[in-house]
Symmetry: C2
Subunit: 739 residues, 2 copies
């Protein structure tokens, strides 16, 4: 790949009907960014600010029928004025290079230097460097590089330094100034500041092109995402591009969700790249009489994250499901984890929460998790639930718990605890007279897309999520060393958990009911609360087993038709040891989409529908997203519940491996841990494990005592056996699978 | 005046050492903006957002010895995504023009239109137009103009419309969406959007030029402000410009507070305008050998506000003091009311509060008051006191009270009450164990620049300001229809006022003491609290009279050396009827500056100092500002306490005129009321009044009963007489002055 020549110039002859050029998204073809290097200088900023700024750009690229379609909740801004500082001990004087985004000053040991110096020499000894940057348009950022002095996330930053000197020379009281560690990413190139960030692109070509008169239908062979590029355009007139995730959509000028319309005036042949990315498999290009186009290609835009996890097994259909899940997830993993690439292209907390979990079994990319978490949170004051949705606020807390569990990153939690705290206080301030979360004016109580799902009263689902969120708050307050907060949140959590079963458990139905209305239990039972209570481990064993039959495996309880909630339903069944059942469900549900020709997984799938009916949603012929992140959940299920790898303490310091074939003859795969990959092979008679860092426990069910030279096998009663696994070691185990 | 040709081009050959060109302030020569026209279309935005954005630009133009010198408190940003809407009833279809700053969509009756249309036709009948705009770099703004449909401040705006539709077509609950009236100014030109706003400029020339070798000293005759322009520059090399409010400063390359340094490379003669405004009377230009400059002029930058008030009297020195006060105030009245033009150029709440009051007697410009008020407040969350200073927070509340008293603008208060409320809650959350305001970590307790002024403990001054602020909150909560808040704040105010005298009054000293430390009264008495308590009318008559002698006229109490606190001291004395004494003080203090050659009034003046000592402050040879807004207080004192015009109910619905010659033979002048000007002439034997709108009361002290044909004169006992004044009427009164 090499840099495209003159992309900007190419665009200048195009009269765009949709976006002004300043709003356009300019493609950039690069060979991808280097991996994070903790010793290199990098661009840094106030933590969370670039994430918010970038998410504003990303989320405001949605169009619908040619119309800009922005989000409907508050979006925030970066702080326009930031002070950066760090102290250094130098054994010799050194010259440093200073670059910034914004107007700035530089102080050495508190003394301002004249002008805006780009190179200065710091004398040897102990010195403090401050750089204060003002920038309203984009995020104040600095890049400083010398032999020893380098800008990185160990620098401290504040948006209010409170440093003044009174008329007598007395310095101000800066004891209340809060300094955080700077935010950063992998921006090591001083010539590419944060505001210039673009995802990389690479060319792709249609696999089939059908021309008829002034229309050309291109098929790129599978769902894809990027900038359409017209080669050799000439003439005066219009070009219209209709994008389709399905052929039907591309061919529907009236109902395709996205299109581009151009007016061109050129007497010599030029290339033209569309200003905004689109999602499509098919593109229908219609030209006016006066226009000719030599050919059409695209620039595939992608996030440069690396696959670390893998899964392969004896069932070809499951392998296909895994591969299409991976591709679905790849397409939806961009600057942030977004919901779907065609329509919203937004960061939705409920959707992102599932992406985090998939990510831990595929990329283990911490940056995309923290960026998404920070973008979702935005800034104080909190004026509505996240994405306006009550449940989505709670998923945000749960996402932070999982991030901590999988990565052990206490620094992130300590740094952003205040934003957790203000959000939780917002929630606690919106409880009803029973102390329960109930939709207030302006709140969207979502749960799931499902027919006639009541949102009235205080839903058990929301209380369950609140209770879990309070437990997360107690944990995080403790990490942030806010001990009285920790005690308070733990007390709230304990109280709510104690009250929860008397409030919602219906002994006759052996289930948690859906809601309380006017202070009374309703008799409606839905799957949601019951399945979450299973993997939250809130039930006792009797309840858990009862619910499995009274709800999860009970066909009279309203079925789930979104991969979104199928995620949790199947997780709950896996947590109950129903891997065989879940494998069949996976083949039925995801396999069902594949049999309909899916090249990525969908926002919603109802097997009862026929043909192009599948593409409809929200009352629109092509309203449904055919590439939705929440469709990729097999990545998570297969990694966590078949390969069976789960951290049991933060950052995989301890973890468990409980392989479950679920009817497969064999399976093999890798699970990334942040400290190496755990490699597993498992058949009905053999388990091979190569560990990463941390202390593992292998749990196997076997009809005979497993044999292993590398570790001692401990019987845990019945058919259960355990082995302790040391870091970076390979184990070969012979056993006999129960089924 | 005409537009300068090619300013941008002129700048391009200049290598600036100080600012990047994107940060530079580009001068714009215009003939001033038209007056506000309520029927014209204008650019509109989310209220407060342009004010914050503009204040960020303005406050980040400070430089000190060539180094960018930004503020040290949090600055905020505009909301990047705003929905604007209004409903219209049209008798015929009409075409409207749409302009925006930012990417946008347009909906008519909830239906989005394709693309970003710039002209659309709205059918006849009842219709709703929504425009939603995204802009991170500058403030989202729209300009819409048709025969009847026009963007103005009657449009409604929100930063979170919460408008979504679920998969069944059900619309969202938007009942919690808060719509405010749009913000606007006088931006009627569709081709000049808010982000392009610049103050107008006009050329000015030096009155004296002294050249010697490579140095040229220019004297512009008086303090001024603007962009230096070099005419006919040629050659390769450097030009340095040292600015001085005094000749000594301009000639001090080492200590001049501001300078510009340029590197020029041009073989043909060009003009060059400096990128940032500066304050100066003198400019010392030093050129390197290779550079020649034909001449130097300046572009005077000014706010296009109109003088409405005036004052003239029998004392020539007082007339000079009034004129220099006006000029001082003109220079410091810019996009906002700033503190001083040379050094800070910032919006300081305590300084602005005084400017508001002066403004009511000179410009009566509401816009500069509300812009300054909004810029100071910024956005939630509140993370520190205003400008970090506790007293400055309270002045902000007081400023809103005065704004309401002088203008009667309830809409402004209702719209921004939530920002008052969160700021007051911040204060109430920072009281000590006695329930009193005491400096916490990070708080700057300022009061005044004065030697050894204790800031320890709970200062009576801060409690007094809190108490008054609570009274303002009660009033404003009531206006905003927040009745329970009104009750609560009134209760707090009443409680504090009841406690105040037992806490701080010292009967032996016949004065309020300065502070309480560790729960006990100190025995220190300062002027501040005592003089504020006079014009707040918190004393009983006995106390008031006692304090006049025990504090105000008592030379053993530490003297005030800043015009800032002289303002209040003289106001208190005027409120006690000491106009004759104050007149002498004015002639002594402000006259003292004039006798030292002042062409504008200073930040601080200590008659004991000599020569260039006067220019020093903050431990720096030229640290003092010689043009400080708070130096202009004679405007206020002469209008309010000599001409004697004061509103007695909001918006001058009722008002009083109590002329007080204070020893003058005669005086005449105008006081603007927002509903016309009140014109007054007063000599020892005659009073002439022409009224504006509202019901006035003329109060005269006379040794005989005044005679007036136009109104009946009512005796009020002693030598006091009153007349009721009707709107827009002229009265001629014969009387006999007591002194």
């Amino acid at each position: 790949m090499k840099k495209l020549p003159g992309i900007t110039a190419l665009l200048c002859f195009v009269t765009l009907t949709l976006f002004s050029s300043t709003q356009a998204q300019q493609p950039q073809q690069t060979s991808g960014r280097p991996a994070i290097d903790s010793k290199a200088a990098s661009w840094i900023w106030y933590p969370g600010d670039f994430e918010i700024w970038l998410s504003n750009r990303v989320q405001n690229r949605r169009t619908d029928r040619g119309s800009f379609f922005p989000v409907f909740w508050k979006i925030d801004s970066h702080y326009p004025l930031i002070d950066f500082h760090k102290e250094f001990d130098l054994t010799a004087p050194e010259e440093i290079v200073i670059k910034t985004e914004g107007n700035y000053n530089v102080k050495v040991d508190g003394q301002p230097l004249e002008g805006t110096p780009t190179r200065i020499t710091i004398p040897s000894g102990h010195h403090k460097i401050n750089v204060k940057v003002f920038n309203q348009a984009s995020v104040p950022a600095i890049y400083i590089s010398g032999p020893n002095i380098k800008s990185d996330t160990s620098w401290l930053v504040t948006f209010e330094d409170k440093e003044w000197i009174d008329e007598t020379g007395k310095t101000s009281d800066i004891s209340a100034t809060k300094w955080l560690n700077a935010g950063g990413w992998n921006f090591y190139d001083p010539s590419v500041p944060p505001s210039a960030f673009r995802l990389p692109v690479k060319p792709q070509y249609a696999v089939q092109v059908n021309k008829s008169q002034n229309a050309t239908l291109l098929d790129f062979g599978k769902e894809t995402f990027g900038f359409i590029k017209l080669h050799g355009v000439k003439g005066n007139g219009g070009v219209r591009l209709y994008y389709g995730e399905s052929k039907e959509e591309a061919l529907s000028e009236k109902n395709a969700i996205t299109f581009d319309k151009l007016q061109l005036h050129t007497t010599i042949k030029r290339d033209s790249i569309m200003p905004l990315t689109k999602a499509f498999r098919y593109v229908n290009m219609i030209t006016d009489g006066g226009i000719t186009v030599d050919s059409v290609s695209m620039l595939y835009e992608y996030a440069d994250v690396k696959e670390a996890g893998s899964f392969k097994c004896s069932d070809a259909e499951i392998n296909k499901i895994y591969d299409i899940s991976k591709y679905t997830f790849e397409l939806n993993t961009r600057e942030f984890f977004i919901d779907g690439i065609k329509r919203d292209r937004w960061i939705w907390s409920g959707d992102a929460y599932q992406s985090y979990l998939m990510n831990y079994y595929l990329y283990f990319d911490r940056g995309t998790v923290t960026r998404t978490t920070l973008a979702l949170r935005g800034k104080d004051p909190v004026t509505s639930h996240m994405n306006t949705i009550m449940d989505y606020t709670f998923y945000w807390f749960l996402g932070i718990y999982d991030y901590y569990l999988y990565t052990g990153d206490k620094a992130f939690i300590a740094q952003f605890y205040p934003r957790m705290q203000t959000l939780m206080e917002y929630c606690l301030g919106r409880r009803n007279s029973e102390g329960l979360m109930e939709g207030m004016t302006g709140d969207w109580v979502f749960v799931d897309w499902a027919d006639k799902l009541s949102k009235k009263g205080a839903l058990s689902f929301e209380q369950l999520l609140l209770c879990r969120s309070l437990e997360v708050m107690a944990l995080c307050a403790d990490i942030a060393n806010e001990k009285s907060d920790a005690t308070r949140y733990q007390q709230y959590a304990t109280d709510l958990r104690t009250r929860f079963f008397p409030l919602y458990w219906n002994e006759a139905k052996k289930a948690l009911v859906h809601s309380r209305v006017d202070g009374k239990q309703t008799d409606n039972v839905t799957r949601y609360t019951n399945m979450f209570a299973i993997f939250f481990d809130y039930f006792n064993d009797v309840q858990k087993n009862a619910v499995k039959h009274s709800v999860l495996l009970n066909d009279s309880i309203q079925k789930i038709t979104t991969p979104y909630m199928r995620f949790y339903e199947l997780e709950a069944l896996c947590a109950l040891g129903e891997q065989s059942y879940v494998l069949k469900e996976m083949k039925d549900y995801w396999g069902g989409m594949l049999r309909l020709g899916a090249t990525s997984f969908w926002e919603e799938y109802n097997p009862a529908k026929k043909g192009a009916e599948h593409y409809a949603m929200y009352g629109r012929e092509f309203g449904k997203s055919l590439c939705h992140a929440w469709g990729a959940s097999p990545i998570y299920l297969l990694g966590k519940y078949y390969l069976g790898v789960k951290p049991t303490s933060p950052g995989y310091k301890t973890y468990v491996i409980e392989p479950a074939l679920g009817g497969l003859q064999w399976m093999e795969g890798k699970v990334p841990t942040g400290n190496g990959n755990i490699i597993i092979y498992c058949s009905t008679g053999e388990v091979k494990v190569t560990t990463a860092d941390g202390l593992g426990t292998l749990k196997i069910a076997s009809s005979k005592k497993p044999e292993c030279k590398e570790a001692s096998v401990v019987s845990k009663g019945g058919n259960l056996y355990e082995m302790t696994l040391q870091p970076f070691t390979t184990y070969n185990i012979k056993y006999k699978s129960l089924k």
